[in-house]
Amino acid sequence: MPQDFRFIDLKVNDAYTNMAVDEAITKARGEGRTPDTLRLYMWRPSAVTLGYFQSVEDEVNIEALERFGFNLNRRISGGGAVLNSEKGEITYSVILREDDPRVSTDPVESYHLLCQGIIEALALLGVKADFKPINDIVVAGKKISGNAQIRRYGAVLHHGTLLVDFDAREMFGVLKISKEKLSDKMIQQAEDRVTTIRRLLGRQVGFLEVRAALEEGYRKALDANLIRGMLTPYEEELVKQFRTRYESRDWIYRR
């Protein structure tokens, strides 16, 4: 029987608010003060988010980041640096209680389960995608989605990004993927390792079409009865608190 899930529909925020919202829902869910939640969101301005254990100096070309006018932030989850582009991707989060019987204690199984909504969404769009352990979704071997999970406050936060479009100059301008100087040849090699919905379908797929596929994909994958909702006043209060931390230099540059 389908289980109720709150669905927070696509909204655009800056990086600090986006990460604060994910953490606020996670805390409230762990405390039993909010329901299981699926949230879709986008970023403006574009931002690089680092994994919790990454260092700014190893991963980010600050000069390019400032030139593009992008934000920089650090997630509470591990994993790699991501360019959350306002033009090219949709981000999603799924928040469940940590003791939810659907969530395995094994990290890879847990990723597999919570990535399934993306695989279903891509299938609805006509793209056959596969889960690639530990935390990626690939199409014919090329990455289209990266995911990260954290267990905190008694809840599991699974968040990730789905590439709709891709600007190699931006992505490899701001992310340090090699000590070598950025060259066209390198962009080509890196570009060959990722793909996007627009590239695969050969048309200008709109964000609303992808949004609808994600909603339906997660509904199927989680056997969920999605109920449109918004943040509770308690979560809004937490967002304000957490946002202050996310935009602090101490947090961003902690490694």
């Binding site: 994994g51 919790y52 254990f53 990454q54 260092s55 190893d58 509470i76 989850s77 591990g78 994993g79 790699g80 640096a81 204690t105 990290p107 890879v108 530990i134 935390n135 990260a148 999970q149 954290i150 267990r151 905190r152 490694r255």
Partner: protein, 93 residues
């Protein structure tokens, strides 16, 4: 002088160790990378435990292995022996 070693775990994630030694002991150590750890606060605790440890492979290795087995830390994309490996390689750098 900061010593650094970077290692892509086969089938896993990137793991780096950065360390400094003073009079034969670790004065600074930091691990970075795109691995996952639960709870994530264990990494800072491990770094704290390694500070002041004699900067030689046996001492460092036993601290790391003892720490992860005691804490039962869940690591994805790397394992305890990978942490020992990057420390040893950074010490040689």
């Amino acid at each position: 002088m900061l010593k650094k070693f970077e290692y892509k775990v086969p089938g896993g994630k990137l793991l780096r160790a950065k360390l400094e030694t003073t009079e034969g002991r670790i004065s600074f150590i930091q691990f970075t990378g795109d691995f996952f750890m639960d709870p994530e606060t264990d990494l800072e605790e491990l770094e704290a435990r390694l500070r002041e440890t004699p900067a030689e492979p046996d001492s460092m290795g036993s601290v790391v292995m003892g720490f992860f087995s005691e804490k039962r830390t869940v690591i994805a994309g790397a394992c305890a022996t990978d942490f020992v490996y990057v420390i040893n390689q950074a010490l040689k750098a």
